[in-house]
């Protein structure tokens, strides 16, 4: 399962060392790009197959028990939804629609799935952005502290904390945060992106905080920020712990290197050694976790959005799955999977740019 903090940081010394020719990077990127395209085609196939598995249920749910027993009614239903055409034809038809940006119509909202996604994506993206920024800042800092104070009390405390962080169910943290922050202390507003009745700012980016600033409406900016703090923090809990663990092990691999020792021996101030030597060396391994962080933020988003009534992609995916809204399910899975593999692709390329040795593998 990708949520597992089991992916272990890179071990560059195992790779063949060869410094790239000028076109090495271009070839590396092209090869990865080709793999990405193949993967995307595979994703559409999986999404298509998934949706094809649904109708066997849909016949029963849409027609009811009695009609489902009647072959004529079932046949009529299947014909109506094009289910009687051969499998490959249906897939090609599906791909054709996809290429033209047509993901079909949601049976729940009766809107085009692309329209729905356009509405819900910014809400999740805004939430995820704040949450990942916070997680990166706090997680990396704590991870570095933990590694530099290896086996001291603070390291033990941080390690246990980070293990606790990846063990807490997100929906449970959300519940407690709402109870304490909203119900008891009333420090934070309860649910939604804005106060009830408030109008969203004119849409430019779809991020309410950014749009409110562009509009020059500071009151609305504060309101939007106030609403996003609690869900973003809850969502960040898992990523903070994850980043802390990866940073710790990445820094530990770098910290014993000769160049760090010589930097210290030269009398370079410790904070400069940490920032310019240790952190820079550890950064590539930390960057590779981004894909994992995204997967976890999305997992958390599905749960957090439900509790905080946040109108995002997670809610949409959940509603779609619950109601067997086939076009929406397929649309969301394709969108999310493509973002996911794209992030991993970017991480791969970034890693290749930072560390030329891995272009070979």
């Amino acid at each position: 399962m990708a949520t597992a903090p089991t992916a272990i940081s890179e071990a560059p010394e195992l790779r063949v060392r060869r410094f790239g020719r000028a076109h090495g990077l271009a070839r590396f990127v092209l090869r990865r790009l080709a793999a990405l395209v193949l993967l995307m085609i595979g994703i559409t196939a999986v999404a298509f197959i998934l949706t094809q598995l649904v109708p066997s249920n849909a016949v029963a749910t849409n027609l009811g028990e009695q009609a489902a027993g009647d072959p004529a009614a079932v046949a009529a239903f299947r014909h109506h939804y094009g289910l009687d055409k051969p499998f490959p034809t249906r897939y090609l038809l599906y791909l054709d629609h996809l290429v033209h940006g047509d993901l079909g119509q949601s049976s729940l909202t009766h809107e085009a799935v692309t329209h729905d996604l356009g509405q819900f994506i910014p809400a999740t993206a805004e939430l995820a952005l704040y949450s990942v920024l916070f997680a990166a800042l706090v997680g990396v800092t704590l991870g570095v502290i933990s590694a530099l104070r290896r086996n001291r009390p603070i390291d033990h405390a941080l390690r246990v904390t980070s293990l606790a962080g990846i063990s807490m169910p997100t929906f449970w943290i959300a519940l407690i945060a709402l109870y304490v922050g909203f119900y008891r202390l009333n420090w934070f507003p309860g649910a939604g992106r804005l106060d009830p009745g408030a109008l969203p700012p004119p849409s430019v980016t779809g991020f309410y905080t950014v749009d409110a600033l562009i509009d020059g409406n500071f009151a609305l900016f504060w309101q939007a920020l106030h609403h996003i703090v609690l869900p973003a923090l809850v969502l960040a809990a898992f990523s903070v712990s994850l980043l802390m663990r990866f940073t710790r092990s990445a820094v530990l691999e770098v910290v014993g290197n000769d160049y760090v020792r010589s930097a210290r021996a030269k009398g370079i101030p410790e904070n400069v050694v940490v920032r310019r030597y240790i952190l820079r060396g550890a950064l590539p391994s930390i960057v590779t976790v981004l894909g994992l962080v995204f997967a976890n933020v999305l997992t958390g988003a599905v749960l957090v959005e439900k509790i905080f009534s946040w109108p995002g992609v997670g809610q949409y995916a959940y509603e779609a799955a619950l109601n067997l809204d086939v076009p929406a399910i397929a649309g969301v899975s394709i969108f999310v999977a493509i973002v996911y593999v794209s992030i991993n692709f970017i991480v791969d390329v970034l890693y290749g740019v930072i560390d030329p040795r891995i272009r070979i593998t």
Binding site: W172, T299, A317, Y318, A321
Partner: protein, 291 residues
């Protein structure tokens, strides 16, 4: 050097304690895990009330007669948390075992036969990795129909690929070792070599992965139940009990205690898995993730 150190160790230490058990985190993990297993086994003896008995005043806050209070239907939350261990734990164990079996066999076959078989199987696992687990699990659970067992099957679908990747890498490296080569030269069939010589030697890291995965499986299973795609009411299951709590969150005890139960179980397996990983040659695990 090390041999010498072992020889000169005082003889009174009769039992050799494996490194894993000397770590406080591992011990804590084992103790909590065993405690939960015992609670699950002896649930009817420990729980003061039945999990479905609606005989009390609803929504009482925790007190001596109801340690964790009562829920909105007047059921004893403490008893429901105890019976909840019977829902999540065995199913999580089962699903991880199933995912581990499927994944390691697929990975072993890919790593052993290589070539086209390897390419096909590994591209297939790549495809499963392309979907964030919750999305795939949600869709599969929804397609199969709501229910705890179907939710577990959905998690098997998302969980097996990581075992395939790890076991393939391990088999690739073990397959080149001399004892496997000699077994082949001695005329052992590929199936026999694979199951007798190769698989037993890759079991260690795979079990470590399984321990950590157990933690994730319990979280995901509880998450699906929380969303209403897993256990259905009125069954006492932790995830759906927390979901219940979110609807009445002024009565904090309804959701807090089942959530705490999930947290302790998951923490136990994470403690254990983390310590085990340190013990089982971390270098191997690292190399495997690379390939």
């Amino acid at each position: 050097m090390t041999d010498l150190a072992v020889e000169t160790r005082p003889a009174r230490r009769r039992v050799h304690i494996p490194a894993a058990w000397r770590q406080p985190l591992a011990i804590t993990g084992v103790v909590i895990a065993i405690a939960w297993v015992l609670i699950a086994v002896f649930a009817p003896l420990i729980a003061p009330h039945g999990s479905l008995e609606q005989t009390f005043t609803p929504a009482q806050s925790p007190s001596w007669s109801h340690l964790f209070g009562t829920d909105e239907l007047g059921r004893d939350v403490f008893s429901r948390v105890i019976f909840g261990s019977r829902a999540s734990l065995p199913i999580a164990l089962l699903l991880v075992a199933l995912a581990m079996t499927i994944g390691s066999v697929v990975g072993a076959v890919a790593g052993y036969f290589r070539g086209l078989v390897d390419g096909t199987l590994m591209r297939l696992t790549d495809l499963f990795f392309a979907f964030p687990p919750i999305i795939l699990a949600m869709v599969v659970a929804a397609v199969l129909g709501r229910g705890l067992f179907n939710a577990a099957l959905a998690i098997v679908v998302v969980a097996w690929p990581s075992y395939a990747r790890v076991s393939r890498g391990l088999v690739l490296s073990v397959g080149q070792s001399e004892y496997v080569q000699s077994a082949r030269l001695l005329g052992s069939s590929s199936r026999r070599t694979l199951f007798r010589d190769v698989l037993p030697n890759v079991a260690g890291p795979i079990f470590v992965l399984a321990t950590l995965d157990l933690a994730n499986a319990i979280l995901l299973l509880a998450g699906l139940s929380f969303l209403g795609l897993g256990a259905q009411p009125p069954q006492a299951e932790w995830g759906s009990m927390v979901a219940d709590g979110t609807q009445y969150f002024q009565w904090w005890w309804i959701g807090t205690f089942p959530g705490l139960a999930i947290f302790t179980v998951v923490l136990a397996f994470n403690f254990l898995g983390d310590s085990l990983r340190d013990v089982f040659d971390p270098q191997t695990a690292r190399r495997v993730e690379e390939s």
